[in-house]
C-alpha cells in the first residue's frame, strides 16, 4: 500500500514541474515589457528600470527561472501591486473561505446526486430515471453564475429567506476565533451557535450553486456504474441467495459502484475550482477566486500568477488523494501497482 502511495506521488512530480514552468512562462508571455506591466500604468521610466533589475528581468531566461523556483521554495509568490501585501500571505488567509465553500458545495451535490443516481439505476425507465437524465443534461448546460443569480433573486429578493449575497458573515458580526479558518467549524469550537447559524445562512446559497453545478457528472456516473454493477454476476448470485434488495444494493452494489464515481471526482474538482471563481464573484465571497478577479481588473499580475499556481498545486494534490482513496476502496488497484 505504502509503495503504491509513493509511486503515485512520484507520478505527480512531473505534473508539478509542468505547472511551475507554465506559470513562469505565463509571466514571460505578458504583452510588451513585463517590467512595465509589473510597475503599473503610472510608473516612470526609472521605476520601470528599477523593477526590471529587482525582478531580474535583465538576466537570461534560465537564470530568471531559477530565481522564480528559489522564491517559490521559500513560499514567496511576489507582492500585489495594489495592496503591496505579499501574495502568499493573502492567499493563505483567503484559502479557508474558498475551501469551506467548495467542500460544502461538493457535499451538497454528493448528498443529492448519489441517491438520485442509485434510485435511477434501480428503477430504470421510471419517473426518477427520467428526472435523473434531465438533471444530468440540464446541469451541464447551466452557467454557474446564472444559477447563482437566479437563487439570489428567488431566495433573497422574492422570498427573503436568504441574507444579502455579501460575503461570509453579516457586517455587524465578527468572525469566530481562528482555529481552522472554516467559520462553520470555528463557531462550533467557540460554542457560538448563533454565529454558526449566521455563517451557515451566508453559505447555503453559494454552496447550493456549486452543488447544482457539480450534480450532473456525479449523478450520471453513479447511475451508469450502478447499472453496470447491478447487471454483474455477483449481484445475481446475491439475489439468487435470497439476500434482501437493501443488503444487495447497500452492501454489495454500492461499494463497487462508487469506484468509478471516485475517479470522476478528479474531473469534478477541475470544474468546481473554476466555477468557484464565478460563484465567489456573484456572492462577493472573500476567497482566493475573488482575489484573483480583483487582481485581473486591476491588471495586477503577481496575485493572479500566485492564484493559478495555488489552484494547480491544490488540484494536483486532490488528484493524488483521489488516486490513493481509489486504492483504498479497490484492492485490485493495489495489486497492479
Amino acid at each position: 500500500m505504502l509503495s503504491m502511495i509513493v509511486k503515485r506521488a512520484l507520478i505527480a512530480v512531473p505534473s508539478l514541474i509542468g505547472v511551475v514552468i507554465v506559470t513562469f512562462l505565463l509571466t514571460r508571455a505578458l504583452p510588451g515589457d513585463p517590467a512595465a506591466y509589473f510597475a503599473g500604468p503610472a510608473a516612470t521610466k526609472e521605476a520601470i528600470d528599477q523593477i526590471r533589475v529587482k525582478l531580474g528581468l535583465d538576466q537570461p531566461l534560465i537564470v530568471q527561472f531559477g530565481r522564480y523556483v528559489k522564491d517559490l521554495a521559500k513560499g514567496d509568490l511576489g507582492s500585489s501591486l495594489t495592496t503591496g501585501q505579499p501574495v502568499g500571505q493573502e492567499i493563505r488567509t483567503r484559502l479557508p473561505a474558498s475551501a469551506e465553500l467548495t467542500l460544502l458545495g461538493l457535499t451538497v451535490s454528493m448528498l443529492i446526486a448519489v441517491p438520485l443516481g442509485i434510485a435511477a439505476a434501480t428503477h430504470p425507465g421510471s419517473l426518477i430515471d427520467h428526472a435523473c437524465r434531465v438533471v444530468a443534461t440540464a446541469g451541464v448546460s447551466l452557467p454557474v453564475f446564472f444559477t447563482g443569480l437566479i437563487l439570489v433573486y428567488v431566495f433573497y429578493y422574492l422570498l427573503g429567506w436568504a441574507p444579502a449575497p455579501l460575503g461570509r458573515l453579516d457586517v455587524f458580526l465578527s468572525p469566530p476565533p481562528f482555529v481552522t479558518g472554516f467559520y462553520l467549524l470555528d463557531s462550533l469550537f467557540a460554542g457560538d451557535l448563533a454565529l454558526f447559524w449566521a455563517a451557515l445562512k451566508q453559505l447555503i446559497l453559494p454552496a447550493l450553486t456549486l452543488g447544482i453545478f457539480s450534480l450532473a457528472p456525479i449523478a450520471r456516473m453513479t447511475r451508469a456504474s450502478m447499472l453496470a454493477v447491478l447487471a454483474s454476476d455477483f449481484v445475481r448470485t446475491a439475489r439468487a441467495s435470497g439476500l434482501t434488495p437493501y443488503t444487495i444494493i447497500v452492501t454489495y452494489a454500492f461499494r463497487n459502484a462508487m469506484i468509478p464515481v471516485v475517479t470522476t471526482l478528479g474531473m469534478v474538482f477541475s470544474f468546481l475550482l473554476g466555477a468557484n471563481v464565478l460563484v465567489e464573484k456573484v456572492f462577493a465571497w472573500p476567497g482566493i477566486g475573488s482575489f484573483a478577479v480583483d487582481a485581473l481588473i486591476a491588471s495586477d499580475f503577481a496575485p493572479l500568477q500566485g492564484f493559478v499556481l495555488t489552484m494547480a498545486v491544490m488540484y494536483t494534490a486532490l488528484n493524488l488523494i483521489i488516486d490513493i482513496l481509489y486504492g483504498l476502496i479497490d484492492p485490485r488497484v493495489r495489486l497492479e501497482a
Partner: protein
C-alpha cells in the same frame, strides 16, 4: 476490426449515413428539436443585427430599467438599451467565439493527436506530456491565466478556450489514429507508395473525422460557457459590446433590487444555446457511433 472497415470510404456510405441520420432524427424527437434550435441560433447569428427592433448600443435614459412589455419584449437595462435586441445581436459574437475556438482546437489537438497516435514514439510522448501539463490545471483557472497573460481581447479568449480543450481532442484523435495504424486501407496506401505524411492527412484524418465532428459539437457548449464565464469576470469582451456573459455581469447588480430581466434573458439565451449544443452532440454521436449510445 469490422468497425474500422465500416469507417472507410465506400460509395454507399454517404447515402447510408444520410438514411441513418434521418432515422435517428425521426426516431429521437429531442435530436430533431435540438437541430431546429441550432438552425435558429445560426439564423440569429447571421441575420440578428438586421432584424432586431432597436439599436443594441443606443441608450435611452428615459426608458431605463423598464420591465418586459410589448415594446421591449425583454425589458430595458440601466441605460435604457433594449435587452431583446442585445440578446439577439450577441448571438453572433458568442457563436463566433465558440466556432472559432473549436475550429482552432481541432487544428491543434486533432492534428497533434493523429500524429501522436500514428507515429508513436517521441511525437506521442511530447503530445502526451503537453496534454498532461494542461490537465494538471483546473481548466477555467488556466484559461483565466492565459487571457490575463496574452492580453485582454476576444482573440485571446478564443486561444485560451482552444488550449484548455487541447487534451480532450488530442486524446480522442490519438486513440482513433492508433487503432488505424495498421488498418487495411493504410497498408494499401503505403504499398501504393504514399509517404507517411500523406497517409496521415489523406487516409487517417478523413477516417476519424466523424468522431472528431462529434467531439466538436460536444465541446461547443463548453466553449460558449467558458467564454461567457471569462467575460463575466471582466475578461475579453468589453462593454458596451453585447455579449451574453458580460450582459449577465452587468445585470447581476440589479438582481438584488428586483430588476431580474437584465441578467435573466442573456443567461437564458446562454443556457438554451449550451443545452442545444449538448443535445445535438449527443444526437450526432448516436448517428456516428451508435454503440456508445446511453
Amino acid at each position: 476490426m469490422s468497425d474500422i472497415v465500416a469507417g472507410g470510404h465506400s460509395p454507399g456510405s454517404i447515402s447510408a449515413l444520410y438514411r441513418h441520420a434521418r432515422y435517428v432524427i425521426g426516431e429521437n424527437k429531442v435530436t430533431g428539436f435540438a437541430f431546429g434550435m441550432f438552425l435558429l441560433i445560426v439564423l440569429a447569428a447571421v441575420l440578428g443585427p438586421l432584424v432586431v427592433p432597436y439599436d443594441p448600443l443606443a441608450s435611452d435614459t428615459t426608458a431605463a430599467l423598464k420591465p418586459p412589455s410589448g415594446s421591449h419584449w425583454f425589458g430595458t437595462d440601466q441605460l435604457g438599451r433594449d435587452v431583446f435586441s442585445r440578446v439577439v445581436v450577441a448571438t453572433r459574437l458568442d457563436f463566433f467565439i465558440a466556432v472559432a475556438s473549436v475550429a482552432l482546437v481541432f487544428l491543434m489537438g486533432g492534428l497533434a493527436g493523429v500524429a501522436a497516435g500514428f507515429f508513436g514514439g517521441w511525437t506521442d510522448r511530447i503530445v502526451g506530456r503537453i496534454a498532461d501539463t494542461i490537465m494538471a490545471f483546473p481548466l477555467f483557472v488556466l484559461a483565466m491565466g492565459i487571457v490575463a497573460a496574452l492580453g485582454n481581447t476576444v482573440q485571446n479568449i478564443i486561444i485560451a478556450t482552444a488550449i484548455v480543450n487541447f487534451p480532450l481532442y488530442a486524446r480522442v484523435a490519438r486513440a482513433e489514429a492508433n487503432v488505424r495504424r495498421e488498418a487495411g486501407f493504410v497498408q494499401a496506401a503505403r504499398l501504393s507508395g504514399n509517404s507517411e505524411f500523406r497517409i496521415v492527412l489523406g487516409q487517417v484524418l478523413p477516417n476519424i473525422m466523424p468522431i472528431m465532428i462529434v467531439q466538436m459539437s460536444l465541446t461547443m457548449g463548453y466553449a460558449i460557457l467558458n467564454a461567457a464565464g471569462l467575460s463575466f469576470i471582466g475578461l475579453g469582451v468589453r462593454p458596451p459590446t453585447a455579449e451574453w456573459g458580460i450582459m449577465v455581469a452587468e445585470g447581476s447588480a440589479f438582481m438584488v433590487s428586483g430588476e431580474w430581466w437584465i441578467a435573466f434573458f442573456p443567461g437564458l439565451a446562454l443556457m438554451v444555446a449550451v443545452f442545444c449544443f449538448n443535445l445535438l452532440g449527443d444526437g450526432l454521436r448516436d448517428i456516428v457511433d451508435p454503440q456508445r449510445r446511453t
